[in-house]
Symmetry: C2
Subunit: 338 residues, 2 copies
Amino acid sequence: MVPRPRIKDVAEYAGVSPKTVSNVINDYEHVSERTRTAVREAIDALGYRVNLAGRQLRRGRTGMLALVVPELDVAYFAELARHVMLEADRRGGTVLIHETGGRRERELAAVSGFDAQFTDGVILSPLALLPRDLTGRDTRLPLVLLGERTAPGGADHVGIDNVLAAREATEHLLARGRRRIAVVGGALRGPQGTDRLRTHGYRAALGAAGLPFDSGLVVPVPAFHWQDGARAATELVTRRDPPDALLCLNDHLALGAVRALHERGLSVPEDLDVVGFDDIEASRFSIPTLSTVAPDKRDIARAAVHLLMDRIDRPEDGPPPVEHVAGHRLIVRESSGG
Amino acid sequence: MVPRPRIKDVAEYAGVSPKTVSNVINDYEHVSERTRTAVREAIDALGYRVNLAGRQLRRGRTGMLALVVPELDVAYFAELARHVMLEADRRGGTVLIHETGGRRERELAAVSGFDAQFTDGVILSPLALLPRDLTGRDTRLPLVLLGERTAPGGADHVGIDNVLAAREATEHLLARGRRRIAVVGGALRGPQGTDRLRTHGYRAALGAAGLPFDSGLVVPVPAFHWQDGARAATELVTRRDPPDALLCLNDHLALGAVRALHERGLSVPEDLDVVGFDDIEASRFSIPTLSTVAPDKRDIARAAVHLLMDRIDRPEDGPPPVEHVAGHRLIVRESSGG
DNA sequence: CCATGGCATTACATCGATGTAAATAGTCCG
DNA sequence: CGGACTATTTACATCGATGTAATGCCATGG
């Protein structure tokens, strides 16, 4: 087996020094046209490719970012991942994706760079992480948090205005005359995650409309999957005093709920309205199509990548953490009368 | 900013040589208990973490695998990715995911390790790759192909029996009395991809049943997304002689088709049957639930990871390419009378 | 008491690329 | 033609970890 050519081999082939080859590779300006061409030819002839390990060792950078999400098969994260990859690509970076399954220990590992050894920085979408997990973390590893404001820790944050978004969605349902709106996936206590923020927005909408708040309508779920939505919906409609609308905190929950309702002979939006969050592609093709809060994923990905790369480019002098509020809009589809 | 401690720092702190620290880290057996403990303590005290670039440079391995798929937001690939990550984890590997968007140049880059510089091997799910792209490729980079048999090239292959699977699905529809079955996403010519193999199986089923083959019912699509299924379905049912069943080559196409049919007032399975491929989670919760050919994703992922890692572990003496046929089963749900 | 051999530890070189600083080659001007 | 610069190119050290081979240590046996 022929070993991979090294920069030294190229140098010999081209009759120059290794450093000159390096200069050509890195587009150093003071290289004569003749030498440049000769080196290029040598590179082609030998099929030379930079060895990134060597480069990284020398430069101290990998050019790789870690994107750490709970689950890739939650469509929102897959869609987000693609945007992040595109953005990173545009800036010459590569993305390494990690799944945490929402487990705190894995998220912790991510922020401490344990998983991310090869990585210059991390974009993390936390689920189980506690605020205190971030205090005192090793700030040598730049970090951007997505979704939740896990508060202080010298990390930038990117997310939509969850409170406002939930409030708008709720107001939409109220405007449709719905009065008993359940929050599937909501939370009243526990860490300040998106679930709590959205529940808060929901409550604000009720308050503004002068309606009473019934904590029984806030239904936590074990995970944000189809089946969790289905179970929650089933439970809700078999109550004595069932809801007339479901505000589901993601589209999977919503679609699972719609299906469960269908199985019990209830139809959406005739009997109940359903609204989700995330605007995954499935929501545009489901029966009925799903109303949903669409976060601007492109904006989120772009902001996250840029914040991260900026911080990587300028270690030391970290400016204070940045808070980027990405756009969102409520898309009304069939599931709430659209 | 405090620089990251190096192995040398640990050595000094523990009062031993760098190599001894390395020995401890790598569980070399001949290290006295005392020394081992001292080094461990030093590591903890300093918060030392191996620098993988250095290690890789020395060892020539990264411990990372590349998983290269067309699109992560095609649920099948996201689900597959998770399984691959789990398997790799189990064997101490890390997975780097790349998207190609189905573009040939990106797939080519993948098999030549261009993207995959940091990678010991590649698992590729090709879409546009031609058989000849693999002949004469640099076999220093172990490669496992998924899905299609892109034929010779010294690469292992993992996939289901596409011909058989399509045949079974078709036979199921025939058994239901359907006679004009369209193949959405099918192909009669072009590279020997899964689409052609499945179309072949479909044809075999027709032949076995003594039914004529109508090439007009084989409908290619630009991509395998919801909207492509929707378009194809719309086009099909507005024909003079519309089909009575759709065999869609993935679940996205199928679900998009179901939606389009719904919009034209046709209901599934009363008016038409629809069957998909992949068994993505959405298919279990759609209205109607979707019949589909479920490939054993876990098996596929496991086989792919093991084949790849085995080949990485033993470079040179590559045994001949292995062909692993993963299991599959037809799951009949509401969309075809289940 | 010394040779023998196994275990524990270490010195040194090396993986491949690149920053620094110095050397060499050119160019222009007086 | 020599000096002063500038443009190119190069020598050398270094990033961090680890394989190789050598050394040191200790116990056992003759």
